[in-house]
Amino acid sequence: MTYLAKPKFHHPELPKNDLGYTHRDYEGTVSTLCAGCGHDSITGAVIQACFELSIEPHRVAKISGIGCSSKTPTYFLGNSHGFNSVHGRMPSVLTGANLANRDLIYLGVSGDGDSASIGLGQFAHSIRRGVNMVYIVENNGVYGLTKGQFSATADRGSKSKRGFINTDNSIDLAAMALQLGATFVARSFSGDKTQLVPIIKAAIEHKGAAFLDVISPCVAFNNHTGSTKSFDYVREHNEAVNRLDFISSRMPIEVKYEPGTVEVVEQHDGSKLALRKLAADYDLNDRTAALGFLQQQAAKGQVVTGLLYMQSDSDDLHSHLATVETPLNALGEKELCPGSAALEKINASLR
């Protein structure tokens, strides 16, 4: 953390995106998290992803709950919409906002406490409803704001900074999201932006509930020997199933890879993902196999990362409910309030 604002000066050769912005234009105010916090790296990755996708900042809504992770939307996309909601209630606020205005890009930012403890129910229902969003959990396995108690995602048998061993079973949010029907599930690591940035880009372009479990070491309370969420542990046990290169729909695919090692997957909007396969027989489209693989590897103490599951022909809550195409704020009084004759007609249809 620092008390100083980041100086306005930037590198004279900084690349600009299609909108003429540099990545500095996607920053927020300076972070007040602890120095070295993994969350700040995720902030950096979100900034980079939005910059590379040339997203107009006013088209994004950042919604969060309570906790270290939920503070981070302040630190990126300073010109976007934001809502810092009640603890664990980000998913319902996001769902409501999404129903009212389907034209925005929704970034739900949460943590392991916010999503796996107090907000577990909200998490589950927003995923199973298929809300069109990017749900990022900045997962450090610890309650940092209250000085380092185990959270619900801390692995059984891992050690706290003060030496206690965790005796509770852990919640694997990625596995839950798979089980609950998320159409895009990935896990990544804050210390590996080359993996994380393309995953965030692909998730933003995905239609439907995209869930990202990002292991984010807590440098102050969970980066010691015996922790399974430390930089060293995750680096040593990281088992990436694939490496992703995001290719937007506007760009032609340039295949630069060895034949047979790359799988190109197309999303609904025409954007393509080039996947360099690392685990040879891993099938991206097989939900149950993914679940099984996650659990087998977890039992070995491995942390599986990469894009774990994706459904190409995904849809979202709006298509389930057959809602109107136009956001509610763009509809006139006549459409929103069609009058008693219309009501009569509806009532009659229900009799």
Binding site: L4, K6, P7, F9, A35, G36, C37, D40, S41, K193
Partner: protein, 596 residues
């Protein structure tokens, strides 16, 4: 790439662009911080140790430091380093008791110094306190050389010259005024242990075109004329004046003319305005005093009537590149232009002149009539004779003369102690962490976005009436504080310790200039393209650190680093620290000699 050797003094010295560019390697950021702290005397002494003439240079330096200033690569204008130096000189307390004392005991060695300008005075300052008997010979009545004779008083008042030359003469230096050395042979016969020639480049180049002889009464050689003005021998000039030449001497000539009765003063140059040798700020000052600068005009003839100058005829030219890409001036074919005038000042360059050095005393001269001088030791082919300043390598600048003087003094000191003068002493480097607390540094690390502040000027109407009225009034303490705040403290270095790094990326994310990258290693040319922001300035180093746990390397591009310390503030393990590297060049004295 291999690990960067940050223990080599040059590595971090290069990062302090201003200090690296300064011929005398003045620790610029160090004295700017002292000015900001209101410690003007301390700031003055930092300068005095390096460049000997802070008050003089703070008004007249050619400022090689300023184009080098990192600020130029980050925004538009450099820190006003030169004018801040003047602030230290203007507002310092009495520093006389902080100067070295005349030597209590002489060491029995006698050094003759020819010419009382900046080069000789620097040698004398370095050697006199060590016990050397230094005898300075000058044809003028007072010390200073070209500083006194050629720089107009409205840029540099006599009081400043008197003060700073006085500090040196006060060290027990013997000044023989009004004594021109006519024979080096005779001087050498006087059994001096060494002779230093700092006689400058005293001859102004003439312009041999038709009419030169006939109209000689109204055609003056620039530096001679400036010198006559300086000593009060010339007090007026015609109403219409043409100054020929585009260097700083030409600027001094035209501005002096404006003060001695010149109403219609023009500078006329052969080449283009942008190619002129004069410093941009000196051109600005001339234009500010209503002096037009006409370019692409080559003087062809002085016109005259009855032995009186009537004007100058010019041929119009344009710049064209030939097949080899060389720039040539070719006639445009337009009719010649006649510019009427009453007086002409010729400021088309100056030359060395050594009629007083016999050619049979072991001093070799090259085909251009310049002495053969070793650029490291400043020794000529006569082992006892040294050259420095303009006398060594032709016309340069005061700050170069000072730098030469320091090096020559080291050579003379080593020579008199029977040492090999080719073995040069290393600079002293002092390294200390600037961390004071969790987010607290011993320097102001908040980056000021302020634009360069302008130095207040005396009102033009008043300034033009009195040739001795100093035009620049200098920064006042408040302006100086604001300008000092623009300094990026490039001497406070980002120092990285691989063994402490956990590769959390915090520094990469916070760096406002995208200077830091963690990436697989490679050759420099390859690495430069793979960084967070491309490193396209090959004159600036990459700082590379290996031995990270993931096998990657940390690469920091030094080019546009703001030294804001945010990387160190964000680092959870202290792998980054901000350390002040204070580099001081070795001067003559026991420290410059070998320890054997």
């Amino acid at each position: 790439m291999k690990n960067t050797d940050i223990s080599a003094p040059d590595y971090f010295h290069k990062v302090v662009d201003c200090q690296w560019a300064c011929p005398a390697h003045t620790p610029v950021p160090e004295y700017i911080r002292l000015i900001a702290a209101g410690r003007y005397g301390d700031a003055y002494m930092v300068n005095w140790n390096s460049n000997v003439f802070p008050g003089i240079l703070g008004r007249t330096c050619d400022r090689p430091c300023e184009p080098a200033c990192r600020r130029v690569r980050v925004e538009k204008e450099p820190v006003a380093i030169c004018r801040l130096k003047r602030v230290a000189a203007d507002y310092k307390e009495d520093i006389r008791d902080r100067l070295p004392k005349p030597a209590q005991k002489k060491n029995g060695k006698r050094i003759a110094l020819v010419g009382g300008g900046p080069a000789s005075l620097t040698v004398a300052r370095d050697l006199a306190p060590l016990g050397y008997t230094c005898v300075v010979f000058d044809s003028d009545p007072k010390a200073g050389g070209m500083i006194r004779s050629q720089i107009p008083k409205f840029r540099l008042p006599d009081a400043v010259i008197d003060e700073e030359t006085g500090y040196i003469l006060g060290l027990g230096v013997e000044f023989v005024a009004g004594k021109r050395i006519d024979s080096l042979k005779t001087l050498l016969a006087d059994n001096f242990d060494a002779v230093f020639v700092g006689s400058g480049a005293p001859r102004g180049r003439d312009l041999d075109i038709p009419g030169r002889k006939e109209a000689a009464k109204n055609i003056h050689i620039g530096i001679d004329w400036l010198s006559s003005v300086s000593f009060g021998h010339v007090t007026k000039i015609g109403k219409r004046v043409i100054v020929l030449g585009g260097g700083n001497t030409a600027m001094d000539c035209c501005r002096s003319s404006r003060r001695l009765g010149g109403e219609d003063v023009k500078v006329i140059v052969r080449s283009g305005f942008d190619e002129m040798k004069a410093s941009p700020w000196e051109k600005e000052d001339a234009i500010h005093e209503d002096i037009p600068i006409l370019n692409y005009l080559v003087p062809k003839e002085f016109t005259h009537e009855n032995g009186k100058l009537t004007g100058v005829t010019f041929e119009k030219v344009k710049a064209e590149k030939d097949a080899k890409g060389r720039r040539n001036l070719v006639p445009t074919g337009e009719p010649d232009q006649h510019v009427p005038c009453d007086d002409v000042l010729v400021a088309v360059g100056q030359e060395n002149s050594f009629p007083w050095i016999e050619r049979d005393i072991g001093i070799e001269f090259d085909k251009w009539g310049m002495p053969v001088v070793d650029p490291l030791t400043f020794r000529s082919t006569n082992p006892k004779v040294f050259f420095g300043g303009d006398a060594a390598f032709g016309p340069k600048n005061i700050i170069w003369a000072v730098a030469h003087g320091h090096e020559a003094a080291v050579s003379i000191d080593k020579l008199c102690h029977g040492e090999d003068i080719a073995v040069r002493p290393q600079p002293t480097v002092d390294v200390s962490s600037q961390k004071m607390g969790i987010h607290e540094w011993s320097y102001n690390n908040e980056i000021a976005l302020d634009q360069r502040y302008k130095v207040p000027l005396r009102e033009k109407a008043i300034a033009l009436k009195d040739i001795k009225a100093e035009v620049e009034l200098g920064f006042d303490p408040a302006l100086a504080l604001s300008e000092a705040g623009r300094c990026l403290n490039c001497d406070v270095q980002t120092v990285f310790t691989s063994s402490l790094c956990i590769e959390c990326d915090a520094c990469v994310d916070i760096c406002p200039m995208d200077c830091i990258t963690f990436t697989p290693n490679g050759e420099e040319a390859d690495l430069r393209t793979r960084l967070t922001a491309p490193a396209k300035n090959p004159t600036q180093s990459l700082y590379v650190a290996n031995d990270l746990k993931t096998g990657r390397v940390m690469v920091k591009d030094e080019d546009v680093c703001l030294h804001c310390s945010l990387c160190a503030e964000r680092c959870p393990t202290g792998a980054w620290d901000m350390k002040k590297y204070l580099i001081e060049m070795a001067h003559a004295g026991p420290a410059c000699r070998s320890r054997a």
